[in-house]
Subunit: 357 residues, 2 copies
């Protein structure tokens, strides 16, 4: 029996990825030049599918990076003028804060405990020229209410709003006119092998990078946002990219369009609902995020404490592989991914199985 | 009939890559966590195979990056104290020079025309604390004599010597005690899909990065050399890596060990020798690199001028895909890769075919 990966990423491949990978090998996609027309056509296809899938406005560019993590370095250099603010409530939002602090800029912090969401300090919001928000904290399973993001924009319309959507896109349905930069890794909800990030930036972000480039700080790295934009405008990349993954992304986003993004989103809602309902009435399962409105639909986190190994083993014996807690919570929690590739049937099986535990 | 890719990279996959990719899909390698033991074992295997294949001294670390190009940014930040020297004779050596110049450091230039190699200015060599040498200029087909690299080391034993071996490793058989840093992309001689770089650094490089970190310049990026080393010491990576490609690299380097690195190297020498011999006596083929001792065995460049399209079409009609010239030479030259995956038989076919042109 095949194992079911419910790990938060790398996770189970999207159910069509394998067939596309086989076709890619057969047709030699891994050998094509990234400076030729065939590659540009693949980039264009991915770009066009992503725009349609996300309803992305025309003033956005679709760029490829090596990972979402790379976007931290690139944003710190290209998008922060002097002062950034970081809404931090877990390991990944905190890492971006530390990256910004390590750069030449000043970094402000608006923080809360893991499992919760900070009270927003609008005094800090108004001071920053760049505000980093993690939509879905993969380490804690907390999802940021979209109204909070929109309110931050309203209170500081000049700042660049950057959204980490690593473990929520394309489930996330956000108003792109109220943010400026959003990034994702393909090994989460897109169900692809790891090794590719997608960075969406609007014209305000490009303008900011141009301003930073003219300032004293300047843009020092080769892979800065302006270089990526320059090549991206011609559907190319600055360096040899992960061509195979860009091809797979173009195919999988096409499949998602055919399936329908509304259906994919409603299925994720359904799977989250049945899981949370089961967990709430379960004797031994304690949900980590107490505040229901903050619970992520795509990353479900359970306080398992001394039962962690027993739970992981029980599930693995039944071919379900779920994730451990992240970082300091590794021994005390488990994490379950609810991504587009996980079918309703798989989730029902997992839920039924957990009832017997 | 299957097409033969003799493009300089991405190129033909190594002949065992496809089977390893199929196995990877079947066994779920693309879904494993990059923080788990299974990934560490894959990293260890790749590390150990690379060490054996290259006869790498113990004072070297094997690190993974997203591309060789990323190593330019990382080196400029982590390995240059104040002043770098760049031996430039083509597009890629020139790009690294420009990356260093764009960073906060001073960059010196020792340059020659494309197709040749500069007279080394030892006055410049002695001024630099970091010296960048491109072993095999992929844009021009010029290979740097190893004696030149060793002489540079001798004249400035304090400087960090960085070698770009993008299109020559593991054909390149260099004395690692006379350099400090060497990097490669896997889509060239290793015959893997693009999207992974391998960076070999010795203890002198690590020491240098520690010194730079303590200096005023500091290390500003998250993905600096010290972060890579910190994770690499535990066979992990700083960000989610291209797990699939690291797995494929571990497998393919294992296959290369089984085949024998001496055999692989002697076959490349043989293929280069028959091709150059044919080209020298060919009425219509003009080799770009006039000085025989500078001719690369792995990247062969031909001045094709107004016959470029006719030559490419002739070969493509016979299922041989070769590369165009690079950058400013795109219309006027063609480039042919001679990598480990290209068999003697394929090269004999290509050579015989060109005689009829």
């Amino acid at each position: 029996m095949h194992k079911h990966y419910f790990t938060p990423g790398p996770s189970e491949l999207y159910f069509t990825t394998e067939q596309h990978l086989k076709k890619a090998i057969k047709t030699g996609v891994a050998s094509i030049s990234h400076r030729g027309q065939q590659f540009k056509d693949i980039y264009k296809q991915a770009d066009s599918n992503i725009r349609e899938l996300l309803n992305l406005p025309d003033n956005y560019k679709v760029l490829f990076t090596n990972s979402a993590t790379e976007v931290w370095d690139l944003s710190a250099e290209s998008l922060i003028t002097e002062k950034s603010l970081h809404i931090v409530n877990g390991a990944f939002s905190d890492k971006f804060y530390k990256v910004a602090k390590q750069s030449n800029k000043e970094a402000l912090l608006n923080q809360s405990e893991w499992g919760s969401f900070p009270q927003i300090d609008y005094n800090l919001v108004k001071q920053a020229d760049f505000i980093a928000i993690t939509h879905n904290e993969t380490s804690t399973g907390v999802s940021t209410p979209l109204e909070t993001i929109y309110k931050i924009r309203k209170e500081n319309p000049e700042a660049i709003i950057s959204v980490d959507a690593v473990s929520s896109l394309p489930y996330l349905d956000i108003d792109y006119t109220k943010i400026d930069s959003l990034y994702v890794s393909v090994q989460k909800c897109f169900g692809l092998p790891a090794g590719l990030g997608v960075w969406l930036v609007n014209d305000r972000s490009v303008k900011r990078a141009e301003e930073v480039n003219k300032s004293n700080t300047g843009l020092k790295s080769y892979h800065n946002l302006l270089t990526l934009i320059k090549y991206g405008n011609d559907f190319q990349t600055a360096s040899t990219p992960n061509v195979l993954n860009i091809y797979l992304l173009a195919q999988v986003t096409g499949d998602m369009l055919n399936r329908g993004i509304q259906l994919i989103r409603s299925e994720i809602k359904y799977k989250a609902a049945i899981f949370y309902k089961m967990a709430e009435s379960h004797q031994k399962l304690n949900l980590f995020v107490k505040e229901k409105s903050l619970r992520s639909d795509t990353i479900i986190v359970i306080d398992s404490f001394e039962q962690t190994t027993s739970l992981l083993t029980f599930l693995e014996n039944n071919k379900f592989i779920i994730g451990t807690g992240y970082g300091k919570k590794q021994q005390d929690q488990v994490r379950i991914a609810n991504f587009p590739t996980h079918s309703k049937e798989q989730f029902e099986m997992l839920t039924d199985l957990l009832i017997t535990w």
